[in-house]
């Protein structure tokens, strides 16, 4: 236990103060160009937040959930688990951004926006009421819009930012409207309170059902799932590659953190109120099938590597949705939800690494399509090995931890009695090998049209890719350290 109780929110506080510190540095000396100082502060802040949340997680803080500010914030093992995911992704992204931004002018703004967004994400993981959930979601989203449009000289980046913003605004409105309907039906915004109301049932099951459906829509947007997925390919492709890494890994994890908590805590599937209004596992099942199938098939037809990764990211959102869909009450609930959490942890590293490899390719100016990547392994064998690890791990081959986490998910679905869903996921996963291996083929097997000219090997970006690869591989045998933490953390939600 931590004393005083508010110290349990230390990861959030560290990140918020890092953002403020970056403001401070920038306002003291706005004109000077000190990329090292700025990225250094951001990196230290992210690492510190990661360290604190990791220590809290492993020392068992929040095994008994700590409620703060009248239950508005809840610090438990699950919120800490997700805080570890988003902060570690942020640390890797910041490290990679240092070289990528090179001599860009608005670096202070860039790192501040990242820190503010990740602050919002850590709050999302700990939201105890729908009001906090909404505010945290906005805090995470608004800086992300600006980050996507960060390369403001680049038409694609600006267009992507605008699209992201418009769809984001629409989804936020849907989400907020859903919250108001749930409030109308239950008279409270606290997650626990809603659950209590629903045990007795509600007089307005129809309103509750529509509200719940709209809230799920909000989650779908944040996690880039069908039907609010179509911003993702545009945004990821147009954004600077480290930002794509950040949004597709950290933001997705935070969205799932919120979805897991809200659906499991506020709308327990067994309670009669939920049963009368809307069986959300059915909705999520449909979304899971649609999301992974769409993501995988669209990814298979891409020529642009970044766009392929964007669709693959949608596909992976579909896999994680399996963890929600299988919470039908028949299986071991904590095993199923824990599988989703583990997949997000592993995905955080392998996906971030893959996007940072794209960042490296953009830095070298080799181009964006599979064709442009041909023969890159000759010039850059080390990162090509790393990229191969990411691709195979994303496809679920046992060279990285993506293998284990994906099979946890499928095992969880079978456990929840959803055989066919596991089979759909498995077939999707097997087919995904087709497009992931295209990258590997381009790097190692194909001959380049003309040899690549690589002038420099940026050490920080290189380091970030290698770190991500080492963690991806290391988690395969090392998952033993984390899996029980995840399952226990998930168990806390089910009381």
């Amino acid at each position: 236990m931590v004393e005083p109780a508010w110290a349990a929110t230390a990861p959030v506080l560290v990140l918020a103060s890092t953002a403020l510190a970056l403001f401070l540095v920038d306002s003291i000396d706005p004109e000077s160009n000190r990329p090292r100082l700025l990225s250094g502060v951001a990196f230290v802040g992210a690492l510190a937040a990661m360290g604190v949340s990791l220590v809290y997680l492993l020392t068992g803080v929040g095994t008994e959930p700590i409620s703060l500010y009248g239950d508005q914030l809840v610090v438990d093992q699950m919120s800490l688990f997700f805080q570890v995911i988003v902060t570690s992704v942020t640390a890797v992204v910041v490290l990679g951004s240092h070289d990528y931004l090179n001599s860009h002018r608005y670096q202070a703004e860039y790192y501040t926006l990242i820190m503010l967004a990740v602050t919002g994400m850590t709050v999302m993981a700990a939201a105890g009421s729908l009001a906090v959930a909404f505010v945290a979601l906005e805090l995470a989203s608004l800086p992300s819009y600006a980050l996507v449009a960060f390369m403001k000289q680049n038409k694609g980046s600006v267009e992507a930012g605008l699209k992201y913003f418009l769809i984001g605004a629409l989804s936020s409105a849907v989400f907020a409207f859903g919250i108001s309907l749930v409030y109308a039906a239950t008279g409270t915004l606290l997650l626990d309170g809603i659950a209590e109301q629903l045990v007795e049932g509600t007089e307005l099951p129809g309103v509750l059902g529509v509200g719940l459906l709209m809230i799920i829509g909000g989650f779908a947007y944040k996690t880039a799932s069908v039907p609010f997925h179509f911003w993702a390919p545009e945004a990821y492709e147009g954004a600077p590659a480290p930002v794509s890494a950040f949004i597709s890994s950290a933001s997705k994890a935070a969205g799932f953190a919120l979805a897991f908590r809200v659906l499991v805590v506020a709308f327990p599937i067994a309670s009669s109120g939920v049963q009368n209004a809307l069986d959300w596992t059915v909705v999520v099942t449909v979304l899971a099938v649609a999301t992974m199938t769409l993501g995988n098939f669209a990814a298979a037809t891409q020529e642009n590597v970044k766009r392929m990764l964007a669709y693959s990211s949608i596909g992976h959102a579909g896999y994680v949705l399996i963890a929600l869909a299988a919470l039908t009450g028949t299986g071991e609930q904590s095993l199923i939800l824990g599988a989703g959490m583990i997949h997000l942890l592993v995905y955080g590293f392998m996906n971030t690494g893959a996007f940072l490899f794209v960042a490296l390719a953009e830095y070298w100016d080799v181009g964006r399509t599979f064709q442009d990547y041909r023969g890159l392994a000759k010039q850059a064998p080390l990162v090509s090995v790393a990229m191969t690890v990411f691709m195979f791990s994303l496809a679920g081959l046992p060279v990285g931890a993506g293998f284990l986490s994906k099979y946890y998910l499928f095992a969880g679905a079978v456990n929840g009695g959803l055989w066919w869903l596991a089979l759909v996921g498995a077939v999707n996963s097997a087919l995904s090998l087709f497009y992931y291996s295209r990258v590997v083929k381009a790097l190692w097997i194909d001959e380049p049209d003309e040899p690549h000219v690589i002038e420099s090997y940026p050490s920080a970006l290189y380091g970030a890719v290698i770190v991500a690869a080492v963690v991806t591989v290391g988690l395969l045998p090392g998952l033993v350290l984390f899996d029980n933490v995840a399952f226990d953390a998930a168990a806390v939600l089910f009381g």
Binding site: L404, N415, W419, A426, V427, L433, V480
Partner: protein
């Protein structure tokens, strides 16, 4: 610790070869691969296991360390060998060493990567045959795909990229279908098991009433569905017709040393898994489905042989004949008799050696003539007497010449399946025997066209005698084939039977001993 040592040696060797300059890689890889080969032979000689590893026998070289917990199931690093897996481990190390030697001539670019991948594949193969925990086994099972994908994709023929991706995706889908089926069984067993150790699962599944229902499926339905899912998963690997379509592409495009490994060892993974999972764990379902499976086996034998008959590319001929020969394994397994199951296991080893020999011969011929089309050459025996002799030896072994391993293996299979328990077993066995006639047809025909008659070569290359390091693998394989054919019982079959018989014993008990 012996199996761990074996895997570690292969992996360390792989890393060492990866970082070596290209010109040293071939010899270094060969030297390194001798160490695991020697070690596995030593293990074979000191092997002290008895019975079946999954059914309570004494496991040789056993080691077990707790790894992680998946829900309420422990996953551990669990390794060990029995009379079924031990010969296959030796087969894997032997063929790797010989395939490395056979690569010296044809592989002329990116050598360090090639030989590194070969050693990496050896490590994975040993892991597949040695693992006794499902998750560990599955890790190695999938890990085999990665080096093979690169071997075909980088060093293969003209359509190598297509063949590599087809092989990769096709077999990966199969693995995952199998995975879902297996996990259905695990969850159906519920609390009767506490780990994913294969012996524990196998013994639980063979206990009446242990398998419960899962979701909407009752125990019987669950067992049937899981059996079918696992069968399809493994049938792709074997391959059983109609799941064989990836194989000709992969074989034809793969560089010859990779074909040796593919036909010699990788296909055996499929039948090994069929034996370990479907036929050991769910004997009653296997019995119920005996006729359809036996029919698939016979169709594989005949259809594979007829496809081989229609080819004019030497490598395609050998590739399709593998489909045919693996059909004998299926037929032997489904027979559920002492000689059937034992013979099928023996055939795995025997076919590994013989098909390895034939692919290696085709490789040597191709290295010299730069063609594999039967119509492009004749009378090669004049110019390449040793290679031609080896080819003849391999072909006769395939046709089942007595005193060679193929005869022993196929004889056991036929004895076993002739009076098997299922309907029409006599008729099906008779049909399967007819496959040998077709084999003789296409092998004699292709030998006569290519090896004998007046010398003629339709290519611009001078045909000369193959070098020593090309023919040594052929001779070594012939020695092994003749030794196994002459003393099958003492060298391997005794051990194999010791491990396969327990599979039948409880089956007999379950069905009132009416075998």
């Amino acid at each position: 610790m012996m199996i761990e040592l074996l895997i570690a040696l292969c992996l360390l060797g792989a890393f060492a070869v990866f970082v070596l300059p290209d010109e040293y890689a071939p010899k270094a890889a060969f030297g390194i691969s001798l160490v695991p080969l020697a070690l596995s032979l030593y293990m074979y000689l000191t092997f002290d296991g008895t019975g079946n590893a999954l059914l309570g026998g004494d496991i040789a070289f056993e080691s077990q360390y707790q790894w992680l917990t998946l829900g309420s199931y422990d996953v551990s690093w669990f390794m060990g060998l029995d009379g079924i897996s031990m010969p296959l481990v030796v087969l894997a190390t032997l063929l790797t060493t010989l395939a490395i030697l056979a690569s010296w001539t044809p592989i002329d670019m990116r050598q360090s990567q090639f030989y590194g991948l070969m050693l990496f594949m050896e490590a994975s193969l040993v892991g597949v045959f040695g693992a006794l925990d499902f998750l560990i086994w599955f890790v190695f099972w999938e890990a085999v795909l990665v080096p093979m994908y690169f071997l075909i994709g980088i060093w293969g023929g003209a359509r190598r990229k297509y063949a590599a991706i087809k092989f990769f995706v096709y077999t990966n889908i199969a693995s995952i279908v199998m995975f879902v089926g297996f996990f259905g069984l695990v969850f159906g067993l519920g609390d009767s098991i506490s780990s994913l150790a294969l012996p524990e699962i196998a013994q639980a599944l063979r206990t009446d009433g242990a398998l419960g229902s899962l979701g909407a499926f009752g125990a019987d339905q669950l067992a049937l569905l899981a059996f079918v899912a696992m069968f399809i998963g493994f049938a792709v690997k074997v391959p059983v017709v109609p799941f064989h379509t990836w194989l000709p592409d992969a074989h034809v495009e793969a560089p010859t040393p990779a074909s040796v490994m593919l036909a010699g060892v990788l296909l055996k993974m499929g039948t090994y898994a069929l034996l370990r999972f479907n036929f050991t764990m769910l004997p009653s379902i296997a019995r119920d489905l005996a006729v359809p499976i036996a029919v698939l086996g016979v169709v594989s034998i005949l259809y594979g042989a007829m496809l081989a008959l229609a080819q004019s590319d030497l490598k395609r001929i050998v590739a399709y004949s593998s489909v045919s020969s693996m059909g004998y394994v299926t037929l032997g397994l489904v027979a559920y008799t002492m000689y059937g199951t034992g013979g099928a296991t023996f055939q795995m080893v025997s076919h590994g050696l013989i098909s390895g020999l034939l692919f290696a011969c085709v490789g040597v011929i191709y290295n010299t003539t730069h063609t594999r089309m039967v119509g492009d050459m004749s009378g090669l025996a004049d110019k390449m007497p040793v290679t031609a002799g080896a080819f003849v030896a391999g072909a006769f072994a395939y046709m089942g010449l007595p005193l060679m391993a193929g005869f022993a293996a196929e004889f056991f299979v036929f004895v076993g399946s002739f009076d098997a328990h299922f309907a029409y077993s006599t008729l099906l066995t008779a049909l399967a025997m007819f496959g040998i006639v077709i084999v003789a047809g296409y092998l004699l025909w292709s030998m006569q066209r290519t090896l004998f008659g007046p010398f003629r070569s339709e290519t611009d290359y001078e045909v000369t005698t193959a070098s020593l390091h090309d023919v040594v693998p052929l001779l070594v394989l012939i020695v092994f084939i003749i030794a196994l054919g002459t003393f099958p019982y003492d060298l391997a079959f005794e051990r194999v039977l010791d491990a396969t018989e327990p599979i039948l014993e409880t089956t007999a008990a379950n069905f009132g001993g009416g075998l």
